[in-house]
C-alpha cells in the first residue's frame, strides 16, 4: 500500500513537511503513515482519522479541533511500559517513526463506546455534579466513582520507574522572549543586537509562529525569507540562546520563569543517550511575552462533532502540513480574518460550500476577495446546529438578527463535512496572569488583554491583541529595544516595511448562537469540550444563584481539564455575563496558574531522584556496621544501625539479646549522630542560662548537665547534655533530629534579641565519633584502652567528663547515660572513629561487649522512663507534664525562654496530660504506639479520650511489656486501670504506673 493511499487528505504539493522521509506510526492499534515535519494531529488528519477521543461526561465522539496547545479533544497516551507519557496533545506531538499513540479515554474504544450506549453518564452528571455528590450521602460517590474512573480516565501513569533522565539548568539572562513569531523574533533581534544576553523560547517544533504560513512580504521579500535571515542572524550571537520545542510553563516572582525543553521527544519516546527533557530555571532581568493568541470557537448546538475545527487551525493544516481535513467546508465567522481559511481551502482545490457570516454587512478586503473567487457568502446568518455523529454531515444555517441574539427565519440544512469556526481571538494572557496581573476586557479586540503587572515584563503582538504582522514587528522591535535599554544597553530601533497585508474590518462580539429551542432544551452547545460543560450548564449555574465566575467554574467544572479551558473559558464567561445581565468586564476571568501546559513529573524532578533525592549521612563507623550485618533505620538524613541480628535472629530476638547484654555485661552504641554544638565566648554561660530551663551559670569545667529547652510557649523543644569544656567553652549535645533546629534557635536569639552577648556557636556534629560503652562491665573495657584518666568512681563521677587518650587517640570521655547503666561516651575526632571503635570492641570481647542499635537504645531508655523529644513529646507538653519539675529552675533571675508561658492558665490547669507508665494486664501484650486510652472497657462511642501511648516495647530484661503514655491527670492516677481499644477490635487493659520501670533509684549509673 503506497503512502499516498493512506493519506487521503494529503495535498500533492506544499507544506513544510519532508516528503522524502515517510514515517510509520500507530494510533489505537492501527498503522498509518505520515512525513517528517508532521505532528501526530496533522498525520491523523492526513489519514482521515475523524474520532480521536471520547468526551469525559457524555462520552461523545470527538475529533481534532485545533493545531496547538489549546487542543481539548486529541489527548493521547504515547508508548507503553516505563517510558509511556499520558495526556499529551496530539497537536503538539512531533511525529517520529514508530510512534505509538492511543486515546486516553473511551471504553472499550473510541469508535464503540459502551457508556454512550448505556446513555448513562450525562443524565447522571448535571452541572454541580461533584459538588452535589460530595455534599450528599457518601455512598453516592462510591457508586459513581466506579463508572467515572472506568469510563473517562485521563491517561494512565506508568507503573514502573522512568527509564529516562531529565536535566535541570539554572540560567540568567537580560531579556527572555517567550514566543518566536514575528513579534518575539523582532524583540529578540533588537535586544540581541545591543549585546544583551537573550533567551528566546517557543513551544512549537520550529520558530516562526504565524510567519510559517504567511502571505505577506517583509522588506520586499517573502515572510519565510525574512524568517530564515532572522534566525540565521540570531544564531550567530554567542549571547543568544534559541530554544525551540520549549514551553515556558510558569512565570513566578521576581522574573523567575521555568521552561520545559523537549530535547528528544521529536525523535523517539525514550532517550538512552542524553536527557529526554530539560527544565530551564531562568532569572530574567526583562521579559517580553510574545506568546500569541488562541482562536475562540463560536458556540452552537453539537459544535463538538468531529469535523468542526477552529478556522485558523484549518489554515495551519493546509499551509504547514499540506493537509486539507475534508472535502466540503462551511466557514462560520463573526470576523474578517477567518475568511483567509476559506481562501486557503479554496486554493487547495476543495469545495467551499459557503461562508456563513453572522454580520449583516461585512465590507473588509478579505470578504471582497472571497466573493471574487466565487465563494458563496451568507451574511447575517449563523450555523445553529451541526448534523452528524462521528463526522460532520452538514449544518443547520439560519438568518440571524443584527445583534446576534435571535433567529429571524427558518433554518435550512447545508451539506458539508467540515465546519471551520471563528469567534475571534483570545490573547494568551496566561503567563502574564501567573504574575498576578488581572486581565482586562477590551471591547475593541473583543478579548482580554494582559493586565498591568509589577514585574519587568511587557506583552506584545497577538498576546497583546495586535494581529497584523506590521504592528507585531513594530511592537516586538520596540519592546526588545526597551528591554535592552532597561538592562543598561544602548539600542536603536529598526523599522520593517510590510506589504501584502489585508486590512481587517470590524468583528462582531458574538459567543453563543441562539437555537430554535431555548438553551436549556437545545442540543448540547459545548463551551468546554474536555469536561463537557455546555451553555445550558453555565446558565443553570447562574439560575442556581452562582454569580462569581470563580464559583461557576467550580460548580460546572469549566476549565478544570488538562487544557485549563484555553479554548472555552472566555465563551463561558461571556455566556455567564449575558445571563447575569452584566458586562464581560464586570464578570472578569478566572485566574490562570502554572503550568501553562501539563509538565511531566520527570522534568520537574530532574536529577533529584533515587539516591540523589536526598543526601544520606553516615558515621565514620558505617562500614563496620555493614560488615557486622546491621539493619539500618533513617533518622533524618542519618543512617543509623537499628539492630545487629545474628544468624537466625529476627528483630525481637536481636533486640532482646542486645538489651540483656547491656544490662548484664556491656554494650556499645554508635552515638556519633547526636547533634554537637561548640559554644564559646565570655557570655556563653549567660546565654545557656537563658535558653535552658535549669541553671548553667555555675557549671564547672569537667562537669556535664542535662537540660531541657522550651519554646517561648513553654513547650519542650529539645533536650540534651551540655558539658563545660573550660572557661567560656561549652559543648552542647542535641537530639539527632533536632541538631539543625537547635543551632538555628540559638542563632536567632543571639542575633535578634541578645546581640550584646559575646558568644559563638559552631556545629561540630560531624567532627566527632561518639562510642557509648555502657553496662556493668563498661569501666573494665575503658580501663583496657585508656590509661591517662582516673576511672575510679569517686574520681570520675556520673555527669563528669575528662580529657584523655583512648587507644592512642586524644579523646573526651563523658560519663553520661541514656541506658541507666554505668556509661562512658568516648568522643574522638571522626577520622579516628573506626580505629577507636574497633579497639573498644577488641577490648570488650572478654566482657561480652555487644554492639546495639537504636531500637535497643529506645527500649533501655524507656525502661528508665527517659523521654525522647518528638516521640514522648509532641510540642504540646511542658516539663511539668513530663514529670520533670526538677529540671525547671525557679531561682534564675533571668526569665529563661518559655518560663512566662509555664504560668499561663492553660499550663497550670489540672487534668493536663502527664507522662506515666502503663503495664498491660497480660505482660505479653505490647500496646501499639499511638493507641488511645479510655476509662471504661465498654465505653459508648464516642468515648472521652484520656490520652495515648507514646512509647511501647517488650522488655527482655523485665520479661514483660512496658509502655510510656500521656494520660490526663495521670500522675495522680497511679494504680488505676485504663483501657486501650485497638483498631482490630481488641481492648487491652493496663495499669497506670510510674514511668520508671527499672532501677528507680538510679543506683546502677552512679557506680
Amino acid at each position: 500500500m503506497s503512502l499516498e493511499n493512506t493519506q487521503k487528505n494529503r495535498l500533492a504539493i506544499g507544506g513544510r513537511i519532508d516528503r522524502s522521509r515517510a514515517l510509520s506510526f500507530t494510533f489505537n492499534g492501527k498503522r498509518y503513515s505520515g512525513f517528517l515535519g508532521d505532528t501526530l494531529a496533522s498525520a491523523l488528519l492526513a489519514n482521515g482519522v475523524d474520532v480521536v477521543g471520547r468526551s469525559f461526561k457524555y462520552s461523545r465522539p470527538r475529533g481534532i479541533m485545533t493545531a496547538g496547545a489549546e487542543e481539548p479533544n486529541a489527548i493521547v497516551q504515547l508508548g507503553h511500559g516505563a517510558a509511556t507519557i499520558p495526556n499529551l496533545r496530539a497537536t503538539q506531538v512531533a511525529l517520529y517513526d514508530g510512534l505509538e499513540a492511543r486515546s486516553v479515554n473511551g471504553w472499550p474504544n473510541v469508535n464503540f463506546d459502551l457508556t454512550r450506549i448505556f446513555s448513562l453518564f450525562g443524565r447522571l452528571m448535571p452541572p454541580g455534579f461533584y459538588y452535589k455528590t460530595f455534599m450528599g450521602p457518601k455512598k453516592l460517590w462510591m457508586f459513581y466513582e466506579h463508572f467515572i474512573r472506568k469510563g473517562a480516565g485521563l491517561g494512565r501513569a506508568p507503573t514502573v520507574r522512568d527509564p529516562d533522565i531529565y536535566d535541570r539548568i539554572n540560567q540568567h539572562c537580560d531579556v527572555l522572549v517567550v514566543g518566536a513569531g514575528p513579534a518575539g523574533l523582532a524583540a529578540a533581534l533588537a535586544a540581541a543586537r545591543t549585546g544583551a544576553r537573550v533567551i528566546i523560547a517557543d513551544e512549537q517544533e520550529e520558530f516562526g509562529g504565524s510567519l510559517l504560513a504567511s502571505d505577506v512580504n517583509i522588506d520586499g521579500k517573502a515572510a519565510a525569507h525574512w524568517l530564515a535571515v532572522t534566525l540565521a542572524e540570531l544564531a550567530k550571537f554567542e549571547t543568544v540562546t534559541m530554544l525551540p520545542r520549549s514551553t515556558v510553563f510558569g512565570y513566578y516572582d521576581h522574573n523567575f520563569l521555568t521552561i520545559a525543553e523537549r530535547c528528544s521527544d521529536h525523535i523517539a519516546l525514550t532517550n538512552d543517550k542524553a536527557a529526554r527533557q530539560r527544565i530551564h530555571r531562568v532569572r530574567a532581568r526583562e521579559v517580553v511575552l510574545a506568546c500569541g493568541a488562541i482562536e475562540r470557537p463560536l458556540v452552537f448546538a453539537a459544535c463538538d462533532v468531529p469535523g468542526v475545527m477552529l478556522a485558523g487551525a484549518v489554515s495551519t493544516y493546509i499551509n504547514r502540513y499540506a493537509v486539507t481535513p475534508g472535502k466540503g467546508l462551511i466557514l462560520f465567522t463573526n470576523n474578517d480574518r477567518a475568511y483567509e481559511t476559506a481562501l486557503h481551502w479554496h486554493a487547495s482545490g476543495r469545495q467551499v460550500v459557503a461562508v456563513v457570516d453572522s454580520r449583516h454587512n461585512p465590507q473588509g478586503d478579505l470578504v471582497q476577495k472571497a466573493a471574487a473567487k466565487g465563494v458563496k457568502v451568507l451574511t447575517g446568518h449563523a450555523v445553529i446546529e451541526v448534523l452528524g455523529g462521528k463526522r460532520v454531515k452538514g449544518a443547520m444555517v439560519a438568518p440571524l438578527s443584527a445583534d446576534g441574539s435571535k433567529l429571524t427565519g427558518q433554518a435550512k440544512a447545508l451539506q458539508c463535512d467540515t465546519i471551520a469556526s471563528s469567534g475571534g481571538w483570545n490573547p494568551v494572557v496566561h503567563l502574564s496572569s501567573h504574575t498576578g496581573a488581572k486581565p482586562i476586557w477590551d471591547e475593541e479586540i473583543i478579548g482580554f488583554r494582559p493586565g498591568k503587572s509589577t514585574q519587568a515584563e511587557r506583552s506584545v503582538g497577538a498576546a497583546a491583541g495586535t494581529y497584523d504582522t506590521a504592528s507585531c514587528l513594530a511592537e516586538g522591535d520596540a519592546s526588545g529595544v526597551q528591554a535592552a535599554i532597561n538592562c543598561g544597553h544602548s539600542a536603536v530601533a529598526t523599522s520593517y516595511n510590510v506589504t501584502g497585508e489585508t486590512a481587517a474590518g470590524p468583528a462582531q462580539a458574538l459567543f453563543l448562537l441562539p437555537h430554535g429551542k431555548p438553551t436549556s432544551r437545545a442540543p448540547y452547545q459545548f463551551v468546554d469540550y474536555q469536561l463537557d460543560v455546555t451553555a445550558a450548564g453555565i446558565e443553570l449555574a447562574a439560575r442556581e444563584g452562582y454569580t462569581s465566575v470563580e464559583h461557576v467554574k467550580r460548580y460546572t467544572a469549566m476549565g478544570f481539564g488538562t487544557d485549563q479551558g484555553k479554548l472555552g473559558n472566555i465563551n463561558g464567561m461571556a455566556i455567564l455575563a449575558r445571563k447575569l445581565n452584566q458586562t464581560i468586564a464586570e464578570t472578569g476571568t478566572t485566574i490562570f496558574r502554572p503550568s501553562y501546559t501539563p509538565t511531566t513529573f520527570g522534568t520537574i524532578a530532574g536529577r533529584d531522584v533515587g539516591e540523589l533525592f536526598d543526601s544520606a549521612r553516615f558515621t565514620a563507623v558505617q562500614h563496620w556496621h555493614e560488615q557486622a550485618g546491621a539493619k539500618f533505620e533513617d533518622v533524618g538524613q542519618w543512617k543509623r544501625p537499628w539492630y545487629f541480628p545474628k544468624t537466625g535472629e529476627d528483630m525481637d530476638d536481636a533486640v532482646g539479646r542486645e538489651c540483656l547484654a547491656v544490662r548484664n555485661h556491656v554494650g556499645i552504641l554508635d552515638a556519633s549522630t547526636l547533634g554537637k554544638i561548640d559554644i564559646q565566648g565570655p557570655d556563653a554561660a549567660e546565654f545557656l542560662n537563658r535558653v535552658y530551663t535549669n541553671a548553667y551559670l555555675k557549671l564547672a569545667p569537667g562537669k556535664c548537665r542535662y537540660g531541657v529547652m522550651l519554646g517561648e510557649d513553654g513547650m519542650i523543644f529539645d533536650d540534651g547534655v551540655t558539658a563545660c569544656l573550660g572557661e567560656n567553652h561549652y559543648l552542647m549535645f542535641t537530639t539527632t533530629g533536632g541538631a539543625a533546629g537547635v543551632l538555628n534557635w540559638l542563632e536567632i536569639w543571639h542575633q535578634t534579641e541578645w546581640p550584646e552577648l559575646k558568644v559563638y556557636f559552631t556545629s561540630v556534629t560531624d567532627h566527632w565519633t561518639t562510642a557509648t560503652v555502657t553496662g556493668p562491665n563498661a569501666r573494665k573495657v575503658i580501663a583496657k584502652v585508656c590509661s591517662d584518666i582516673d576511672l575510679d568512681g569517686d574520681a570520675f563521677k556520673f555527669m563528669d567528663w575528662r580529657d584523655g587518650t583512648v587507644s592512642g587517640v586524644k579523646a573526651r570521655v563523658f560519663r553520661i547515660s541514656f541506658t541507666g547503666e554505668l556509661s562512658y561516651e568516648v568522643n574522638v575526632p571522626a577520622h579516628y572513629g573506626r580505629h577507636v571503635w574497633e579497639k573498644l570492641i577488641e577490648a570488650g570481647a572478654e566482657f561480652g561487649i555487644t554492639p546495639y542499635g537504636t531500637e535497643t537504645m529506645h527500649v533501655l531508655r524507656a525502661e528508665k522512663g527517659f523521654i525522647i523529644v518528638g516521640q514522648d513529646t509532641d510540642g504540646s507538653v511542658t516539663p511539668y507534664d513530663m514529670n520533670m519539675a526538677w529540671v525547671v529552675s525557679s531561682k534564675k533571675s533571668f526569665s529563661f525562654l518559655g518560663k512566662r508561658s509555664l504560668d499561663r492558665s492553660d499550663c497550670t490547669r489540672t487534668m493536663r496530660k502527664q507522662l506515666v507508665g502503663l503495664k498491660t494486664m497480660d505482660p505479653l501484650d505490647v500496646l501499639p504506639e499511638g493507641a488511645q486510652i479510655v476509662n471504661e472497657r465498654n465505653a459508648p462511642i464516642p468515648a472521652a479520650m484520656q490520652g495515648h501511648v507514646t512509647s511501647s516495647y517488650y522488655s527482655a530484661c523485665l520479661e514483660r511489656s512496658i509502655a510510656l503514655a500521656v494520660v490526663k491527670g495521670g500522675l495522680d492516677r497511679l494504680g488505676e486501670q485504663v483501657f486501650c481499644p485497638l483498631a482490630d477490635g481488641r481492648v487491652i487493659a493496663a495499669e497506670i504506673v510510674s514511668s520508671v520501670f527499672y532501677d528507680p533509684s538510679g543506683a546502677r549509673q552512679n557506680v
Binding site: H254, K452, T454, T752, S895, K899, S901, R904
Partner: protein, 98 residues
C-alpha cells in the same frame, strides 16, 4: 521564587538560600513576669497578617547564616529593601505597590 538581597553578603541571591523567619521588630519583653496573660499572649501568638508592605525576618541559611529584615509586599511580593538586624527600615513607598 523571590530574589533576595542579603545585606551582609551584599548580594542578590535566590530564595532557595534563605529561610523565612516571621514578622520582624517583635521585641521580647524585658520582664516577661510583669506581663498579664493577655499581654504575654499578644507577644507570643499575635501577628499582623498584613495585606501590603510587611517587615519580616529572613535568614541567609545556606549562606552567611545571619538574620536580617526584609520589607516585602504580601500581595505583589515586591521587595522594597533588606536591612540588617538592629537598624530601622526606610519610610515605606506611598500607597499600594501596584
Amino acid at each position: 521564587m523571590l530574589k533576595i538581597h542579603c545585606p551582609y553578603c551584599d548580594e542578590q541571591r535566590e530564595e532557595e538560600e534563605f529561610s523565612y523567619s516571621g514578622e520582624a521588630h517583635i521585641s521580647r519583653p524585658l520582664d516577661p513576669g510583669a506581663l498579664s496573660d493577655a499581654d504575654w499572649a499578644d507577644y507570643l501568638f499575635f501577628r499582623k497578617n498584613t495585606r501590603g508592605w510587611h517587615h519580616e525576618m529572613w535568614q541567609h541559611s545556606a549562606g552567611c547564616r545571619r538574620y536580617f529584615n526584609v520589607t516585602r509586599h504580601t500581595v505583589t511580593y515586591e521587595i522594597f529593601e533588606s536591612y540588617p538586624m538592629g537598624t530601622t527600615p526606610k519610610a515605606l513607598p506611598k500607597g499600594d505597590a501596584r
